[in-house]
C-alpha cells in the first residue's frame, strides 16, 4: 500500500498507508488527518492539496473545480483522488484549523443570581468565532490573565455570537476573584474551545431525564433550549434541579419559563434546607420515581460528584441503560485546574 505524508502549514505532518482503491479523503480522515472538506464530490474545492509526486490521481470521468493549469501544478482534490504511489501532500492551512478555536468576547452583563452564583453574558468580538455542542464547555481567561478555567455554556449554539455562563463563585479562584473584584461590562475575556464529551446526543425519540445540582444547571439549560428549537415532536422531559440553601438558590424563574414553553417538560426543584412553596425538600436524586423512567430513557447528569454518583446509582436501579447515562462532574478542583489538553 502506498504511504501518504500529509503536511500542514504549521509544520505538523501525518503519515499513513493509503488504500489505492479508496478515496483519499476517506482514508485520510480514517487515519485522523484533519483535512477540511465539504462537498465530497469534487465541486467545492475545500479539500484541495498539492501532490508533490503527482501520485494522487483524479478519475478523468469526474469533472472537478480545478483548472487544468492547477492540476499541472500538482493541485488535487482529496475527496475524488486515489493515491497510486508514495507521495507527500501539502495543505496550506494549519493542522489545528479543525481543532478548538480561540476567540475574544466582550462582557455584556454580570448578574449575581445568588450569594455564590454569577450569570455572565458575553458577545464574541468582531471577526472571532467558535462553536460548540449543547452541554460542552469553554476555557475562560479573564482580562490580564494567562490561564483559564473551564465553564459550561448555558446558552445554545443558535444564540451565537451571544454566550452565557452560570458560574459558581468560590472563596478563592482565578475567575472567582475576577468576578468578585473587578469584572465590568465591556471587559474583553478570552475563550477557547469547545471541549468536553458531555454533549447532547440529539435523540428526540427517547424520554430525557436531566439531573442538575447548582450551576450544573448551565449545560442542561443549553440542551433544553437547543432541544426546544429542534424540529418534530418532543419526547417527555424531566428536569430535577437542586440547590442547597436559600442563600444559594437560583434559577427558579429560568426553569419555570422552560416548563411554560415546553408542554412535555416536568420540572422538580429541590432545596436541601429551607424549602419553600414550589420546592421539594431534599436533593434532586430523591425526587426521581420509577414512573419517570422507561426502558428507552436517556439521562444527562451535571453537578457535584456525590450527586452524580447517587443519580447514576438511582437511575441504574430504576432501569436506565448504563450506556445512556451521560454525566459531567463539577468540582472546585476541576474548575481551578488549568486545562491544557482535553
Amino acid at each position: 500500500m502506498p504511504t501518504a505524508t500529509c503536511r500542514f502549514s504549521d509544520g505538523e505532518s501525518f503519515t499513513f498507508d493509503a488504500d489505492p482503491d479508496a478515496l483519499f479523503l476517506d482514508a485520510a480522515l480514517a487515519a485522523g488527518v484533519p483535512i477540511l472538506h465539504q462537498c465530497r464530490s469534487g465541486s467545492c474545492g475545500t479539500c484541495v492539496c498539492t501532490s508533490e509526486q503527482q501520485a494522487l490521481t483524479m478519475p478523468r470521468s469526474t469533472a472537478t473545480c480545478l483548472l487544468q493549469t492547477e492540476v499541472a501544478q500538482g493541485r488535487r482534490l482529496s475527496c475524488v483522488g486515489q493515491l497510486q504511489a508514495d507521495d507527500t501532500l501539502s495543505f496550506d492551512y494549519p493542522s489545528t484549523q479543525t481543532g478548538p478555536a480561540r476567540a475574544s468576547a466582550f462582557v455584556d452583563a454580570i448578574d449575581w443570581l445568588a450569594d455564590d452564583v454569577v450569570r455572565l453574558r458575553a458577545e464574541l468580538a468582531e471577526g472571532d468565532w467558535l462553536t460548540f455542542d449543547p452541554g460542552q464547555f469553554l476555557m475562560l481567561t479573564p482580562p490580564g490573565e494567562t490561564e483559564g478555567r473551564r465553564y459550561s455554556l448555558s446558552s445554545t449554539p443558535g444564540q451565537l455570537p451571544m454566550l452565557e455562563f452560570l458560574i459558581r463563585v468560590l472563596p478563592q479562584g482565578l475567575v472567582s476573584d475576577y468576578l468578585r473584584e473587578r469584572a465590568a461590562v465591556d471587559d474583553v475575556i478570552t475563550l477557547t474551545g469547545s471541549y468536553g464529551s458531555f454533549r447532547w446526543r440529539k435523540d428526540l425519540s427517547r424520554p430525557h431525564i436531566f439531573v442538575a445540582g447548582g450551576t450544573g444547571l448551565a449545560p442542561i439549560l443549553s440542551i433544553l433550549d437547543d432541544l426546544r428549537s429542534r424540529s418534530g415532536k418532543k419526547p417527555p422531559l424531566l428536569l430535577c434541579f437542586g440547590c442547597t440553601s436559600p442563600e444559594t438558590r437560583f434559577g427558579a424563574e429560568e426553569v419555570a419559563l422552560r416548563a411554560d414553553w415546553m408542554p412535555t417538560l416536568t420540572v422538580r426543584r429541590t432545596l436541601e434546607t429551607g424549602a419553600q412553596a414550589g420546592e421539594i425538600a431534599g436533593d434532586p436524586v430523591a425526587v426521581i420515581d420509577q414512573a419517570d423512567v422507561s426502558k428507552e430513557s436517556c439521562a444527562y447528569l451535571c453537578g457535584p460528584p456525590p450527586m452524580i454518583a447517587a443519580a447514576t446509582a438511582r437511575l441504574l436501579e430504576l432501569g436506565v441503560a448504563a450506556e445512556r447515562i451521560y454525566a459531567e462532574q463539577f468540582t472546585a478542583a476541576l474548575q481551578s485546574e488549568t486545562l491544557t489538553e482535553e
Binding site: S104, D108, P161, V188, S229
Partner: protein, 458 residues
C-alpha cells in the same frame, strides 16, 4: 508571535449590548419564543391558495414563513415542493416546466424532481449524473378542503410521521364543542371541515409583521377603528367603543391533546363589559341593532369570528407570514348551504355586501391600523416599549399560549425572497410599481426581458 489585531465589538447594533436577546439585562419574558417568531411559526398548516387559483397542470409559487413553495396540480391532486432548486436555488415556479404528470423540472439546468417524493429523478441534459436519485427537494403535505389548498409548511428536518392532521391547526368545531363553549345567542357555528359548507373569501398582502396583524383580530379595544365604517352605520349596528374584561374567566385556553391550541373569548356574555359611552368625550354608540359575535384564535394564528358579519356565518382570518414584514391576509366566510339555492344566495350576498363592505370596507380599517403599528415593532423595540392595559389581556394570553404550543420558530430564511430587503431586483420591482408580495414573479415573455435600459450601437 503575539497577535496585535485590535479587538472590536461586532458592528450592527441589532446584536449590541441593549438589543440582543442573550446579553440583555431584562429577564427573558414569559413569551420570549413569541417575540422570537418574527418569521412566523413553522411546522403548521397554512392556507396557500384557493382551489380555483390552481387548475390542472398549473404551477404557482408562493412564500410562507420565508419558505418558498411551488404548487402544481397534476391528475387533480395538488403537490407542494420547496421552490428552490437544490442545484443553484432557482425558483421552479418562475417559469414552470413539466414534461409529465409525475415531475417538475427546473427551467434553468433541467433538474427534474418527483412531485410525490421530491426525489431528483433525472437531469434533462445530464441523465447519468451520479447526483440523480441521491438527493431530493423538500416536499410539503397538502390538504384541499372547501375550495382551499392548505400546505403543511415545515422545516427540512420535520419528519413525515409527525405531521398532524389539518384539524389541529383550524378553529374548534361545533356542535362538538357546543357543550364546552355554548353561546346562548346563536346555534352551532359553521366550520370549514363541515359537510355542505361553502367558503368564500379573499386574500391579499399586508405590510406588517404577522403578529401585529394577528393580535389586531381579537383585540377587544380595536373595534374603535370600526366606529365610522359604512357597514356599521348603514345597519345601525351597536358596535361598542371597546369591550372590557369583567371577570377573570373572560378567556378560556384551548389546550386539549390532539386538538387546536389557542383561546376562546366569552364575548357578549357577562364576562366582558361592552363600553357604549365615554361621558368625558361626549361619545355614545347610537346604533339600535345588536351585532353580537365571538372571537377565538388558535395556532398558527387563525381567527374565528362566530356569527359575523351576519347570522349563521363565521369569518375565518389568517395572517400568513411571508417575510418578517409582510403577511398574506386571508378573510374567508363560511356558511352551511344545503341546497344549490342557498349556495347561490350566499354567493350573491358575498359579491354585493360581504366582500365590498365587510371583507374590504370593514377589514380595510384593520389593514390601515396594522400598518400604522408596524414601525413601532419593526426594530424589535416595540415589544419592550409597549404599555399595555387591561383589554390587552387577550394579546398577553395569546402570546403565552403561542409560546408554549407552537411547533417551531421559523428561522430567517437562507436565500429566499425578502431576506435581503434592498436587493436590486426588489428595488427594480418596486420602482416599476410591484410591491414585495406573496406570489413568485413569473417570466411572462420569453423573448423579451424588457426591464432594463438597452444601449444600442447601430
Amino acid at each position: 508571535m503575539s497577535e496585535e489585531k485590535p479587538v472590536r465589538r461586532r458592528a450592527g447594533g441589532a446584536r449590541g449590548a441593549d438589543n440582543g436577546r442573550a446579553n440583555d439585562a431584562r429577564t427573558q419574558s414569559q413569551y420570549q419564543p413569541y417575540k422570537d417568531a418574527e418569521w412566523g411559526f413553522i411546522n403548521h398548516w397554512y392556507p396557500a391558495l384557493f382551489s380555483g387559483e390552481l387548475a390542472e397542470d398549473e404551477v404557482e409559487g408562493i412564500q410562507i414563513c420565508g419558505v418558498q413553495i411551488v404548487l402544481r396540480r397534476a391528475g387533480g391532486r395538488v403537490f407542494a415542493l420547496k421552490d428552490q432548486c437544490i442545484h443553484r436555488g432557482v425558483r421552479l415556479s418562475a417559469k414552470p416546466m413539466c414534461f409529465n404528470k409525475e415531475t417538475i423540472s427546473c427551467w434553468y439546468h433541467g433538474f427534474t424532481y418527483n412531485l410525490e417524493s421530491g426525489n431528483l429523478d433525472t437531469i434533462v441534459g445530464n441523465p447519468d449524473d451520479k447526483l440523480i436519485d441521491n438527493t431530493r427537494l423538500m416536499t410539503y403535505p397538502v390538504e384541499e378542503v372547501a375550495g382551499m389548498i392548505f400546505v403543511f409548511v415545515r422545516d427540512d428536518e420535520f419528519p413525515d410521521e409527525d405531521v398532524p392532521p389539518l384539524s389541529e391547526d383550524l378553529p374548534i368545531r361545533f356542535p362538538e364543542s357546543s357543550e364546552r363553549f355554548p353561546h346562548p345567542l346563536w346555534p352551532a357555528s359553521p366550520g370549514l371541515l363541515d359537510e355542505e359548507v361553502v367558503a368564500l373569501g379573499i386574500h391579499r398582502t399586508g405590510e406588517a409583521n404577522w403578529r401585529i396583524a394577528c393580535e389586531n383580530g381579537f383585540d377587544n379595544a380595536h373595534i374603535l377603528v370600526h366606529k365610522d365604517n359604512t357597514i356599521v352605520q348603514a345597519n345601525n349596528w351597536v358596535l361598542p367603543l371597546g369591550i372590557r374584561p369583567a371577570s377573570d374567566d373572560c378567556i378560556t385556553p384551548i389546550e386539549e391533546d390532539g386538538g387546536p391550541k389557542g383561546m376562546m373569548q366569552w364575548l357578549f356574555t357577562d364576562r366582558w363589559e361592552p363600553i357604549l359611552e365615554n361621558e368625558e368625550l361626549g361619545i355614545k354608540v347610537e346604533g339600535v341593532n345588536s351585532r353580537l359575535y365571538r372571537t377565538s384564535v388558535v395556532l398558527p394564528g387563525v381567527l374565528f369570528v362566530e356569527n359575523w358579519p351576519e347570522e349563521h356565518i363565521a369569518q375565518y382570518e389568517w395572517y400568513v407570514p411571508i417575510t418578517d414584514d409582510t403577511y398574506e391576509y386571508w378573510e374567508v366566510l363560511v356558511k352551511h348551504c344545503p341546497s344549490e339555492k342557498d349556495a347561490k344566495d350566499f354567493r350573491y350576498r358575498f359579491d354585493t355586501v360581504y366582500q365590498p363592505l365587510a371583507l374590504r370596507g370593514f377589514n380595510d380599517c384593520d389593514l390601515h391600523a396594522r400598518e400604522a403599528m408596524q414601525d413601532f415593532y419593526a426594530d424589535g423595540s416595540g415589544w419592550e416599549e409597549e404599555q399595555l392595559v387591561d383589554t390587552d389581556v387577550s394579546a398577553i394570553m395569546w402570546r403565552k399560549l403561542a409560546s408554549r404550543h407552537n411547533r417551531g420558530i421559523a428561522q430567517p430564511p437562507r436565500g429566499a425572497q425578502g431576506r435581503v430587503k434592498a436587493s436590486s431586483i426588489r428595488l427594480k420591482n418596486v420602482s416599476e410599481g410591484r410591491s414585495p408580495g406573496y406570489y413568485v414573479e413569473k417570466i411572462e415573455d420569453l423573448n423579451n426581458h424588457n426591464r432594463t435600459k438597452v444601449t444600442e450601437r447601430r
